[in-house]
Amino acid sequence: MSDFLIINVVIPLVQIGVLLGILGLAAGYIVLAERKVLAFIQSRLGPMRVGPHGLLQPIADSLKLLLKEDLIPGSADKLLYVASPVIVVAMAFTALAMIPFGQGITLLGYHIPGVIADVNVGILLILGISGLTTYGIILGGWSSNSKYPLLGAMRAAAQMVSYEIALTFAVLAGLMVAGTLSMVGIVEAQRDMGVWFVFIQPVAWGIFTIAMVAETNRAPFDMAEAESELVGGFFTEYSGMRWALFFLGEYTAMLVIAAVNVTLFWGGWMRPFPNVEALAFLDVVPSGIWFLLKVTSFLYFYMWIRGTFPRYRYDQLMALNWKSLIPLSILNLLVTGVVMLLLA
């Protein structure tokens, strides 16, 4: 086999296989972790009966969902109804390809990079692809041909489109400092400057963190689902495996956006204080583990705020975005530009 074939076909395929295999299981365990964290916040124990401390619960859940009857409402638009969960999952998985998970390793003489596709406009591509998730949600809500899903889908669309503006402006502020659009390049820029961008751009990080919660339709911005007012939101009519696909898509999107946050503001796969020689012993921990630790902290943050804050009202949600986040992010962009001009 020629080297070209191995580097361009075999290695990416193995990476994709490993990632998808791990992710399928990990999503289930993120759900379990979420149930446990929420339970602990409410002084409960959470799932305890399947396996020790409920550790086999995700497997039982997915088996149940797989074996459920495949229902399609009679008045639904069949093609779009079937397609929309697939769109959501496919978009979330595609965005995952651009995430640098680590430094990369050398195995059998071949360098295996820590990222599946090091695209030179990686972060733009991720934002664009996550934007397409909205299609899955709108089509899912619309094709169900029922009132609650439609309302949920319309809310989701308005919310995601609005928050994308603040999100992108926050990302832009980080990119101005990094000077590159490549995800790997951003991490390397932080290594060369010797500082994580969260310390240079704290306001942009704050805006990004708030907007990313809204962007993934998570509590306290889960207007699209809003169990207490819209039954189940845009996937009210979905059940069984299709419903599970929406869930998988939601949790993968959480993972992706948390990974973007880590890459852009928290130094990606780097250990804390990468320039301090005294902490070099931290390098025994592989770069991938540092990355996962950081992403896990963000996942915990997601669950933590879900257990803490009540859902925003719809107009409050929009006011927060249009009246606070967007002006603030533009101001931040302006200040960044002026400071960079003065320093140049």
Partner: protein
């Protein structure tokens, strides 16, 4: 001319400064609270594995002490739901004279656990136990006869 009345509820909370609002101080306080609760002891009782004990005065499933009952019919009379049925006769059994109950049925499906029968019994023969697991699959099984009432309620295990 009508005066415009502000419909906003007046709040007694002190006005927050801009810095407090910008740094989300109140939200961070809330997150600190939930973080503390995360590590507090949990209140869940894992029911079939652990059981809370009930208060001694709890009015659970009825029991009758067969050896002391004098078949006076007072409990049957006072029962508002008419769920006690008993029959007694005179004789010498079980080492005592006088009347004793020959049969005694209590329908727990109809009982409202008012405790009147327990109060009215002159010899404290009928009483509420602390057992609360009274669920049955079959209505007939909720009717306890003298033997069950005397020896204690057994949880019925159903076969498929």
């Amino acid at each position: 001319m009508s005066t415009i009345v502000s419909s906003a509820p007046s709040s007694s909370a002190p006005e927050k400064t801009f810095l407090e609002r910008f740094l989300l101080v109140e939200l961070l306080k809330g997150m600190w609270l939930t973080l503390k609760y995360t590590f507090r002891p949990k209140v869940t009782v894992q029911y079939p594995l652990e059981r809370e004990s009930v208060h001694p005065n709890y009015r659970g499933i009825l029991r009758v002490d067969e050896s002391t009952c004098i078949a006076c019919y007072l409990c049957e009379k006072i029962c508002p739901d008419k769920c006690i049925h008993l029959e007694g006769e005179r004789g010498y059994t079980k080492g005592k004279g006088g009347k004793y109950a020959t049969y005694f049925y209590i329908d727990h499906a109809r009982c409202l656990f008012c405790g009147l029968c327990e109060e009215v019994c002159p010899v404290d023969s009928i009483y509420h136990s602390n057992e609360y697991e009274a669920a049955v699959y079959n209505r007939v099984d909720a009717v306890h006869d003298l033997q069950i009432l005397d020896s204690g309620h057994n949880i019925i295990h159903y076969e498929r």
